[in-house]
């Protein structure tokens, strides 16, 4: 069982990357020490009752006694968070959720395939770091990252992934960078071209629901296990309110209970693609 902390954290830096994106760095000893790739934190962006609830953000990167979140400004809470200054304090709970299963260290030498849509790059970058850390000379492991963005200006982390030694392929909706189309088109091209024998790999995906659904279909078709990270609106983020559930195949499904609900915040956000009922 991973540990969870509630801490008032000092903001070390808050950098606007463009009109819509920013990166915020928090000072913390315990959260970076315990966080797993795919876990998230619940952030109270102000001390007032508006906005009332915390907001979930994936752990994007950890340093020594710091960690970052990479965020898109979409509404009130993300705007307030984007305006934080170094020295401000923010109440944070984390790390939360289950995180990705990195897979065995040595056996199964196939590449790791990461599929990121939109802000999905945020937690997947941390996952890539974790997988890269586990490389050993006799278990050289290729990481291939497929990134999908609306357009070139929404493309995040491409350089960072490359610096980690990942192979990066890009798709944009408007074709301003890389393939014009969807990131799952890229994934499908790759899977189609790669011979069976080399496909002893695993897929990790995070992004909008339609993308994740498509990844699940591809994973089934090409018989590759996929772990996908879901998003739902959250009230508590710790498994108490039952507000963030997703339909999964019931273990002993019957006519009366053809499915079960699992909590995205506590039993997820990472699920095996095959267990989700879309």
């Amino acid at each position: 069982m991973s540990r969870v902390f509630q801490e008032r954290l000092k903001v070390i830096a808050c950098t606007k990357l463009s009109e819509s994106y920013f990166r915020i760095t928090f000072a913390s000893r315990r959260i970076p020490a315990h966080a797993l790739g795919g876990q998230f934190v619940q952030v109270k962006v102000s001390d007032s009752a508006q906005p009332l609830l915390r907001r979930p953000f994936g752990v994007h990167r950890v340093g020594k006694n710091t960690f970052d979140c990479l965020c898109e400004i979409v509404g009130e809470a993300t705007r307030i968070l984007s305006e934080k200054k170094p020295g401000d304090f923010v109440d944070v709970i984390g790390p939360l959720g289950n995180g990705f299963d990195y897979g065995p260290r040595t056996k199964d030498q196939g590449p790791r395939i990461l599929v990121a849509g939109g802000m999905g790059v945020a937690p997947l970058f941390f996952l890539a770091e974790k997988i890269a850390e586990r490389r050993t000379p006799n278990a050289e492991r290729k990481i291939i990252v497929f990134i999908g963005a609306k357009s070139k200006k929404d493309l995040l982390c491409e350089k960072d992934f490359k610096q980690l030694g990942c192979e990066v392929k890009v798709a944009t909706d408007d074709g301003s960078k890389g393939l014009r189309g969807r990131v799952t088109d890229l994934l499908e091209q790759y899977l189609r071209r790669t011979p069976n024998a080399e496909r002893r790999s695993r897929i990790y995906a995070c992004g909008p629901k339609p993308m994740l659904k498509q990844v699940s279909l591809l994973s089934k078709h090409y018989n590759l296990p996929a772990q996908i990270s879901l998003e739902e609106h959250m009230a508590c983020g710790i498994g108490a309110c039952l507000g963030c559930v997703v339909k999964v195949r019931a273990q002993n499904a019957s006519r009366r209970t053809p499915f079960a609900y699992k909590r995205v915040c506590k039993d997820g956000p990472v699920f095996s693609a095959s267990e989700i009922i879309w």
Binding site: R3, V4, F5, Q6, K44, A49, Q50, P51, L52, L53, R54, D91, I93, E232, H233, M234, A235, C236, G237, I238, G239, A240, C241, L242, G243, C244, V245, V246, T257, F259, A260, Y261, K266
Partner: protein
């Protein structure tokens, strides 16, 4: 000497008057690492039904100005699995455990659950949730549907039928979605309820104008949080004028200030709901804050501020 914080609700003695509200604290296990659970005055479980319920479709929650809507639909494993799988952890914590029960449309199920809980010594009190806005009582043809807590006669007969089966402290949780809440409180009192909890959530809705869709799947849900506080407080005050049994006050309590408002309006104890999501430690911060307030004002006993509003 530090002030006395002990209060009595029926037969139940609480070390302090700050409880956590049903449905906002899970089965407590979710909060284990975030606060010292032994120090909470009492823990009210998520509402349990006789058979399990899978709950409502998603989305189940959305944020609203200074509040939130929820329509969870009483997802729970059913009473037997609750007793097997969830209660032992709750009972091991040391704070009194109050089990909340409900039924969609069958008063007989309430009585059956009360009977079952009566036999379990780990259960310290029972809360009758006759006010969940997210499941509706089916009435006879043509009468529409409504909550038991919207009808004084139905409230009286339900509480009466449960009272027969238990000597444990029985609490009735009331709905604010009524014209005259003290009428319902009086009915609960007359039927033998040891206390009333007020209030449950207010019916409300919210619309995504781009999509032209309701923000929660069931369209209408229950509003909670600071947005409802002034109305909840007014209801506590109204009921306090009319009844003798203790009131457990709740509705938008976020901090010690708002908690004290509820005592002054007539609550003998208070319950923290939505605020647990915002700050999981808030119940214990409120206990500490109440102690400081009493000490600073040289008040020896929490009971002396209950309903002490000056007019």
């Amino acid at each position: 000497m530090s002030a006395n914080l002990k209060v009595r609700i029926g037969k139940l003695e609480l070390a302090n008057p700050v409880m956590v509200a049903s449905g906002t604290f899970g089965y407590a296990e979710e909060f284990t690492e975030l606060l010292d659970l032994r120090k909470i005055g009492a823990i009210v479980s998520k509402t349990i039904t006789l058979a399990g319920r899978e709950g409502n479709p998603m989305p189940r929650t959305c944020e609203t100005p200074c509040g939130m809507l929820n329509s969870i639909g009483l997802e729970n494993p059913g009473i037997e699995r609750f007793l097997e799988q969830k209660l032992s952890y709750l009972a091991s914590l040391g704070s009194p455990i109050i089990v909340s029960v409900a039924s969609e449309n069958d008063p007989g199920e309430f009585a059956a659950m009360v009977k079952r809980l009566e036999k379990d010594s780990r259960v310290m009190a029972i809360e009758l949730n006759i006010s969940c806005p997210n499941i509706k009582r089916a009435r006879g043809k043509g009468q529409g549907s409504g909550l038991i807590a919207q009808d004084p006669k139905a409230t009286y007969s339900l509480v009466k039928s449960c009272r027969r089966f238990t000597r444990k402290t029985l609490i009735t949780k009331l709905s604010p979605n009524v014209t005259c809440i003290s009428e319902i409180a009086l009915a609960a009192q007359a039927a033998g309820s040891d206390a009333v909890s007020l209030v449950n959530t207010f019916s409300g809705m919210s619309i995504d104008v781009q999509a032209k869709r309701p923000k929660i799947a069931c369209v209408v849900g229950g509003l909670s949080g600071p947005a409802i506080r002034p109305i909840a407080l007014r209801m506590v005050w109204e009921v306090f004028q009319k009844i003798r049994i203790p009131i457990i006050g709740m509705g938008g309590i976020m901090d010690v200030q708002s908690a004290l408002e509820f005592f002054l309006a007539g609550s003998s104890a208070i319950s923290v709901g939505t605020a647990n999501f915002v700050n999981p430690r808030v119940s214990l911060e409120i206990v500490r804050g109440i102690r400081d307030y009493l000490d600073k004002n040289k008040i020896k006993d929490i009971r002396s501020i209950v309903g002490a509003l000056k007019l």
